[in-house]
Each structure stands twice: as structure tokens, then as C-alpha cells.
Amino acid sequence: MSEMAVDRVAEAAHAEEHEVHRDYTGSKIGMWLFLFSECMLFGGLFIMYAMYRADYTQSFLAGGKEMNTAIGVFNTIVLLTGSWTVAMSITAVQRRHKKLAIGLISTTIGLGALFMVLKLFEWGQHIKHGLYPASSELAGHHGKQVFFALYYLMTGLHGLHVIAGMTVLTVMLILLIRNKITPEHSVALENAALYWHLVDIIWIFLLPLFYLAA
């Protein structure tokens, strides 16, 4: 090996040893930018909902009556509680309460799972009652078809976000157990929590649009 190459290898090893490049502000801004792009994605759907509701006001009110408000409200509280526990997990990490942080993140993942189970149960009930866009029950009711098309699209896309959030939080849980998330370097967990909160915010707006529409 030439002297130069040896130097280069030594240099690289040295750099690896001393400089793990981290950019806290950059990570945070990147995450927020991504969340804002998510806002635009759901914002477009909210605008579509508003315009169709203006066209089919009565059908949307009738569609809202078919919703199970109790499950909708309960699921809202489930998500809000999940946001609360994941927010507190960051404080727990910073105060070096590792066991508490593990418990809090696990709780959030569990609440996400509960949310999805209830959501799937609800969808099952709707489909059983013929409440889906191409069903024979809704044939001729164009407005109601639009309402349910938007319902499945928006809650479905939201559900995918819940699953993604649960996956990300599971990774954070493993990183935390392996001491890769520490009080000094917890930005990954903070960003994961930010994502979870966004999922929560979207649901905050979905609740009145669909469940309380009547």
C-alpha cells in the first residue's frame, strides 16, 4: 500500500472515531418540512370534502347519521392519549427515566393498535350494511356515494399513517433499549413523536367532518 493510501485510511478512521456528524436543527427542520407537505396532502382532501359537501349538503348530513359517533369519539381520545404518552416519553428520556420512556412509547404503540382494530371493526360494520360507494344499497344516491368514497379515502389514508407511525415508534423503542437514543441525542425520537402528533391532528379534523357531520 502506498504511503498516501495508508494516510487516507488512517484519516478516515480518525474521522469516524471523533466526528459522527449530527445536525440537530437540520433534522428538526427536515421533519417539519415533511409534516407540512403532509398538511398539503390532507389539505387537498379537506378542500375536496368542503366542495362536495357544498354540492351534496343533505347527503353528507344523512351519511353522518350512519356513523358510529361513540367509536369515533372514543378513537379520538385513544389517539390524544397516545400523543400525550409519546410526548412525555421525550421528557422521560431527557430526565434519564429510561424504563418509564420505554413504557410510554409502548403504550402509544398499543393505543395505535387499538385505534386500528376499532377502525377496522367500524369499516366491517359499514361494508356489512352496504355503506360503500358501489353498493346496491347506495345505488342512485350519488351524494352518499361521494360521502362514503371520501370517508374511506380519508380515514384509509389516515390509517396508513397510523401504521407508519407505529412502525417508526417501534424502531425508536428498539433504539432506546439499545441505548442509541440518549438524553444528548434524542432527535430521532423527537421527530418520530412529531409525526405521531401530526397523525393525531389530522384525526382531530376528521372527527367533526365525518362522525359529527349529522
Binding site: M88, H185, H197
Partner: protein, 105 residues
């Protein structure tokens, strides 16, 4: 220490468990209030028609999540708040222009 070259997190404001719990309590209370207004049609309460309640209460709830759970209130760098205002501004322009198109057709 806003631009610490070592990248070690600076100025992280650990919000107390109590603050988070109070915010969570407020969020649950607002959710129940919103549901009660919508389900029981509290017509005697002025300004609390269901849709108006949704327009007021839901943004307050979202605000609580953004400012407390998402730490926006405690961020020393204003870039996050500026980005939030720009995003909301763009959404309002989209909604306003689409609404004009539908309303004046």
C-alpha cells in the same frame, strides 16, 4: 448555542409531565364538549351550533397539540413558526380560490 458545531442538542426544554397532563386533559375535555354539542344539539347555548363549534374547537385542539406536544411554543428558532404560517397561508389561498370557483359558478 444555537449552532453548536458538534451537533449536540442544545437548549432542549424538557416540558414537565404536569404540563403535558394538563394539555391532555384539556384536549379530552374539548373533544367531549364538541361531541356533546354535536350529538345533543345544545341549541340554547349561543354561538355553539355544531358546525360553528367544530370550526372553533377543532383548531384550538390542533393548536394545543402543535404548541405543547410538538414543542412549537418552546422552539427558540422562529423558522418553524414561519413555516407554519406559510403552510396555513397556502392552504387558505387554495381553499379560498376553490370556494370562489364553486360559489360563483
Amino acid at each position: 448555542m444555537a449552532h453548536d458545531p458538534t451537533g449536540v442538542q442544545e437548549d432542549v426544554h424538557a416540558i414537565s409531565y404536569t404540563t403535558y397532563t394538563l394539555v391532555w386533559g384539556a384536549l379530552v375535555a374539548l373533544t367531549l364538549l364538541l361531541s356533546a354539542v354535536s350529538v345533543f344539539h345544545l341549541k340554547d347555548v349561543p354561538f355553539l351550533t355544531p358546525s360553528l363549534a367544530a370550526f372553533i374547537i377543532s383548531p384550538i385542539k390542533a393548536g394545543l397539540v402543535v404548541f405543547y406536544f410538538m414543542h412549537l411554543k418552546y422552539e427558540t428558532n422562529n423558522i418553524y413558526k414561519i413555516m407554519l404560517v406559510i403552510t396555513l397561508g397556502i392552504l387558505i389561498i387554495f381553499l379560498g380560490l376553490t370556494w370562489l370557483d364553486v360559489a360563483l359558478r
